[in-house]
Subunit: 648 residues, 2 copies
Amino acid sequence: MGPYPGWLPTSEFTRVLAGIGGTGDRCAAFAAMCRVNTLYAVMRAGSGHLGSSFSAADIVSRLLLAELRRPFTADGDLYFSSKGHDVPGLYAAMIGLGVLDEGLLHRLRRLGGLPGHPDVRTPWMPFNTGSLGMGVSKAKGLILGDRIRGRSRRVFVLTGDGELQEGQNWEALAGAAHAGLHELTVLVDHNKLQSDTWVRDVSDLGDLVAKFRAFGWGVLRCDGNDSAEVGGALRERADRFGAGPAVIIADTVKGAGCALFAATSMPEGEWRYRYHSGAPALSEYLIAHEQLVTAADEVLARHGLDPLRPVGTDLPRRAAGTAPRLPQVYGEALTALAATDERIVALDADLLLDTGLIPFAEAFPQRLVECGIAEQDMVSMAGGIASAGLLPFVHSFSCFLHARPNEHIYNNATEGRRIVYVGSLAGVLPAGPGHSHQAVRDVAAVGAVPGLLVLAPAGPAQVRAAVGFCATAEQSVYLRLESTPVPAEVAALRHPVPAPGHGVVLRPGGRTVALGAGPLVLGQLLRAADVLAAEGVDLTVVDLPWLNTVDPGWLGRLAGEADRILVVENHLGHGGHADTVARALLELDLPEPPRLRGLGVTGVPVCGTDDEALHAHGLHAEQLAAAVRAWPSSPAADRQPSRPTRRS
Amino acid sequence: MGPYPGWLPTSEFTRVLAGIGGTGDRCAAFAAMCRVNTLYAVMRAGSGHLGSSFSAADIVSRLLLAELRRPFTADGDLYFSSKGHDVPGLYAAMIGLGVLDEGLLHRLRRLGGLPGHPDVRTPWMPFNTGSLGMGVSKAKGLILGDRIRGRSRRVFVLTGDGELQEGQNWEALAGAAHAGLHELTVLVDHNKLQSDTWVRDVSDLGDLVAKFRAFGWGVLRCDGNDSAEVGGALRERADRFGAGPAVIIADTVKGAGCALFAATSMPEGEWRYRYHSGAPALSEYLIAHEQLVTAADEVLARHGLDPLRPVGTDLPRRAAGTAPRLPQVYGEALTALAATDERIVALDADLLLDTGLIPFAEAFPQRLVECGIAEQDMVSMAGGIASAGLLPFVHSFSCFLHARPNEHIYNNATEGRRIVYVGSLAGVLPAGPGHSHQAVRDVAAVGAVPGLLVLAPAGPAQVRAAVGFCATAEQSVYLRLESTPVPAEVAALRHPVPAPGHGVVLRPGGRTVALGAGPLVLGQLLRAADVLAAEGVDLTVVDLPWLNTVDPGWLGRLAGEADRILVVENHLGHGGHADTVARALLELDLPEPPRLRGLGVTGVPVCGTDDEALHAHGLHAEQLAAAVRAWPSSPAADRQPSRPTRRS
């Protein structure tokens, strides 16, 4: 209980559903109530996707309340969202129906709670989505699997509209028609906005009806915020297109159901939709909450039901924070450099804001190539731009940039093109969005690309230097940028980016050396060194920002002053920093090499608060200090293995 | 000079072009002559893509002779092929026009010669293609780069029809229309056959005209083996669709221009087209050569020109070879297992023959999912199939499988699905197709995927055991299969697949241990051990088939019997076998760890014969023996680095 209007328990949903007879009003009230709980959960979590959960709420309500056969049973029809970031709305609906524990509503984006994107560990969640464009393919596989096993379920997949820019969708559509997958219905949440702005301004979808038709699908269109229209379209789908797959293009409003968040309320001339992700301000929360409860109460009143009784709540206070973030520093540095270096062209895949490119877009619109959510096209285009004598900087979240166009980065390298790849949101933090957004394999996945240096700058000073390095280096560079606020210890660092393969001693100490890169690891290591210093244990902390190369001369000198080296990395164990250093250290062929251990992420990264994730993966300063303490001061004399080495 | 009819020197093309006035006949004669030289070059190389070079020959001839403005000049119009495997035909045309040295005709797929797929190191080749689906994106980038620089060139891109199954094409098409890229013309070599069989049977393209139109492109259609029709379509393209990008769907016949190779000559009921890749038999060569020369001579005669005078040639003799190949052994083993294990489902991306799946396809057509050239769709479908309680085995060449669906493999892993990925054609051999087909980053790129074991079996016995392991393991497996003939030493091995992380001593020797995996490395190491043994040097050879994990207990025992360990890998230096072993070795925390060195591929893998590539990358037995000889018997006492450690 607390001072603010909060959440609706499952019992309220039960009361309302029992008290309303008609499908239309049941869906309308249910959807409004789901929006209340979505708002509450996102507000408590401090982040999450409101706009998209709201645009889809009427579709989801209609499907779950009136259309699916035996949803949430082993053999029932399946619904899932391919875009996945609308999952807070789905959680709210599942809690409303009592198939998910209402206590989880308070644990959105928390460890052991409800992940920021769908995950199969949540009851009744069929797939991990949120990596865009995979949903239709997964549904196809499930249906073919069912057919092989002699089963039959209908599968309903929601996609975004911006999501349709991903080429995989068109791969998937072709085969589905070919195989006559009548079990499959795709609903497009056609809210016309992708993460920051209008789909038509990013990469226009053109005539979507004609596209689906050309790919052999049955196509219908309806108002996706009108439950009756959604129901009608689903009936028509069965009647007219029963022999194959069909799509319902559901025209929706992003943020629908609440005047404050609705895209239709955007001021004239405003390009940016502000409620795609992140929690609203408290004042906005209170307005929206009231709008939503009022909308529901109007329906309830028509059926003689008492108004909703949301449980009062406190809400966590969050300081705005003034710590710098690397992508923003990066974007300003790139923009400054581009004023004098006319070769620089920036490519983006629908993440202008989050990759720090807004200043560049405003200053050099003619040198910005917005590719939409089409990373493969973007990276191959960068190869073409480089072939025209320019210097492309290619941007996305690192989770996508290292993986979706992985073959394309290699292909560009085989041409010897000079290209700079800038992957932001790198590493295990923020942990709220979950594993689809946590780039913890990127160093491994691109580290072997010939001629590509992987560079992880620590703080603002290093980021600025790194931009200059990228522009003048002979090699291509993958710039690995973490996006969480830079810790004060790291923000204060003034050392430049050292030569490739070289590191910088940040804190001289004893012959135990901790080596790392990037703000998370270096911040935690500097704190761990403080903890240990208080105990009289000296720890040397070294920034080696090069993740796939080590200079043997530099390493040899470091090794001469070290008895043991701890490599800590914001990455899984294989193919990352620790492997690189270990191999290089052994190949120095020293008579008495220092001992080495690596510590990094193990297993699938967890979803939770940053602090929860740091602790879960053993990367918190206290844990790093404990690891140093627990490391025996001399090698295992009996040659027994000290720990397992399967590291991912 | 030699006994067989051979190649046409540039002077013959010059004579013919000078002697024929009309565009149609010039193109017809030129195309036929290009086919002669294509046939010769592929025959000499022993492999290469005839069918596709022939289907495109009339389009290429028309473009180069009559349509492009100043081709092969710095500011002239550009033509390139996105599918790329038709490049022998393009080389022939460039040699005919004298812009490429005719001597290179004898060096197709040879080191320093003409690569098996296009490469920018060849004069006038704008891009590295052959990784399908990238061409339209590259052309877009080039055009945007030109615009930024205030230049303008028209760009003509040839794609395959099967190639259009790749989702990237549809990413690229959308943006091109959005940006009004009037400089861009795509020609689809619509020969209706992909690598083995008919496109319609693999993944039907449906109404291709409607698809391109729906994506906002101008669309025309013509007979692509009729030069006049191609020219007419290009004029109409300029007249009708001058404001944006346009596509010409050029209907062609695979193997056109030569009755023997033409798909129209395929026997009734035959599903497999036999001339997609590979050299013909000598008897076929002679027939085809005569058909082609006759076709050209008919045109020449109409213009009063003397018949063609091909230079006589010898031709290399190639033994058929009876050595086993791992994909074929694998396919038989999988088929046998599937008879008793009904969970097994095989997914393929248009490489049934090359991944060994023909027996499976014949025995279990209902459990084969043919996805077409759509690797992302395939891997996500596998996740769906696994979610239905089945066990998917997912197949492609490793160069594609580890990279194109890289994010999808990770996504499946985050769901905890059990899936077996089978990447054939792994490693640096065969080196003839070139870097697009040489998977030398796969261990790095998938090695960090949580819960995924990377396993490289050595010979037939290990492949059979590996199939059993994959079906029963608790973890997912990436099976890395080399496709070249297995050396006799390795084919004779009878050891089973050891437990994960364990290795097997193949040849006991002294305290110098060479460790590797797969037929190439183990074959060369066993031969190197013979070479060294003759000199009195003992070398222990160990098969460690697990590429991303080492059992510390096993490694500890090996380390106890080793002074130095040489890790040899068919892979680039980062994130592979040597890194894995080095890290594990150091983390054993031994008082006196053995010394370690890694040897593997460095840089972009070369195109050439297998022997040329082995030598170029230092992986030949003689070179491995030399590396052991040259390794000082004691560590560098002065702690100076022994060699650079930037390894890729």
